[in-house]
């Protein structure tokens, strides 16, 4: 029932200029590495990208930046990237910063048909500018709207051909909500298996949210290798 690709170029072929794209991952963990590389190659421009971070200069979403494919970035922390800074200062790149928990919840809301919700995060801060403030039980909250995307690019450890996905450890992060919030969700999986192979109680992303899958191998670069001192 799902499109199963063998070429990453083909998997992202339909992504057009001016698309809004969600990209899973936290830092470089859980990012759909090969889909991003293919998107760079596709040269789709004027993208709005929703992702917690924006990669590093030479990897992940940083590659889209280098190639000047992003018009607007919606994220919570974009501090690992010099080219990002340059484009913002030069006015080439628009940025919308969203508190991380609000970002996660806005994406969840988008996928779950919730147009808006209230959250305490950001009350009394620059984030509140232009936003409705409302008091519930004596505490102030901001109104935040749901986020959806034309395409969501996610990465999972395992996927079956019905689109069910299982993530590994902290590589889960934003991927499940994004899978649900994309009109078209493309999943890059480390291992593609037959339906029935995965335990139905262990599925993190039900297949209904996923339109196509492709198996690929990731580099899984480590940003901050921190080791215990050998005893």
């Amino acid at each position: 029932m799902k499109d199963i690709y063998t070429s990453f170029q083909e998997a992202v072929r339909d992504i057009e200029d001016y698309s809004t794209i969600m990209v899973g991952g936290f830092g470089l963990v859980g990012i759909p590495e090969n889909l991003i590389l293919a998107l760079v190659e596709s040269n789709a421009k004027h993208l709005t990208v929703i992702s917690n971070n924006c990669g590093v200069d030479d990897w992940g979403l940083g590659l889209l930046l280098q190639n000047k494919q992003i018009d607007k970035m919606i994220g919570s922390y974009v501090g690992e990237n010099k080219e990002f800074e340059r484009q913002v200062i030069e006015g080439e790149l628009e940025v919308e910063l969203v508190p991380q928990g609000t970002l996660a919840e806005r994406i969840r809301a988008g996928g779950a048909g919730i147009p808006a919700f209230y959250t305490p995060a950001g009350v009394g801060t620059p984030i509140a500018e232009g936003k409705e403030v409302r008091t519930f039980d004596g505490k102030e909250y901001l109104l935040q709207t749901g986020l959806t995307a034309d395409y969501s690019l996610v990465r999972a450890a395992k996927g079956d051909k019905h689109g069910n996905l299982i993530y590994n450890k902290t590589a889960r992060n934003f991927n499940p909500m994004m899978a649900a919030a994309g009109a078209t969700t493309i999943a890059e999986v480390e291992k593609l298996v037959e339906p029935g192979t995965l335990d139905p109680d262990h599925i993190h992303t039900p297949g209904i949210y996923v339109q196509s899958l492709i198996e690929g191998q990731q580099e899984k670069r480590i940003e901050r290798l921190t080791l215990a001192k050998q005893a």
Partner: protein, 224 residues
């Protein structure tokens, strides 16, 4: 009398004092940077679960080389391990946990704190803005929010103020401030000095604090 210590010693001193905020059985979120260091000083007899907002409840120690999993990091993007009894979740669940006040304690860094518990720790106007990450959620999400920071900035100016001059991270969110010189609580009526660091006097603390300080009746010097 003022005390001069090298930076690493100061950080360790603050981290060790912050550790005393953690009770056995607590679920705790430690911010990136100095707060993360607090984990190194947690007494072994305390059962503590550290939460990482990128989706890990139960951060373990750093991995040995053969244990490194690139899919397993903390919110500071450092490789970690998971503790026994840990669980993974997505970022919406992770922040639901935070926002829903299921954490007992959050220890975060600060640039400025006001006498009403306002916190500024994410941006300096005119400098490149990197983003607030999870800080704006975390300050609303814990039963107790403790800020650890130097008492004064590099120009010797107070970081505890009547009003924050920097854009806020949260309004009325701080419960306690732990610095290299003192421990100060944010109370209904204003700030209250509850501990004075070794080698400092109450008057010296008042002099380097930019807001009025009541002195707690049981004030005692910080034990190191």
């Amino acid at each position: 009398m003022a005390v001069n210590l090298d930076k690493a010693t100061v950080r360790e001193k603050i981290a060790r004092r912050a550790e005393q905020e953690i009770e056995s059985g607590f679920y705790v979120n430690l911010g990136i940077g100095m707060p993360t260091m607090v984990a190194n000083y947690i007494q072994p007899d305390k059962q503590v679960v550290l939460q990482s907002e990128n989706g890990l409840l139960g951060i373990g120690r750093s991995p040995y080389e053969d244990e490194v999993d690139p899919d397993l990091i903390n919110a500071g993007k450092e490789t970690v391990t998971a503790s026994v009894g840990a669980s993974y979740c997505d970022s919406a669940e992770s922040f639901g946990m935070i926002r829903g006040e299921h954490l007992d304690l959050a220890i975060l860094g600060g640039m400025e704190v006001s006498e009403t518990g306002n916190l500024a720790n994410w941006m300096i106007p005119g400098k490149m803005i990197k983003g607030m990450g999870g800080a704006m959620d975390i300050v609303h999400g814990s039963k107790k929010v403790v800020i650890i920071m130097d008492h004064v900035n590099k120009y010797g100016e107070p970081k505890i103020l009547k009003e924050c001059s920097l854009p806020l991270t949260g309004k009325g969110v701080v419960n306690r401030i732990i610095t290299d010189r003192a421990v100060i609580d944010v109370k209904e009526g204003g700030l209250e000095l509850v501990e004075v660091g070794e080698g400092w006097t109450i008057d010296e603390i008042k002099d380097c604090t930019g807001a009025g300080l009541k002195v707690h009746e049981d004030l005692y010097e910080t034990k190191q």
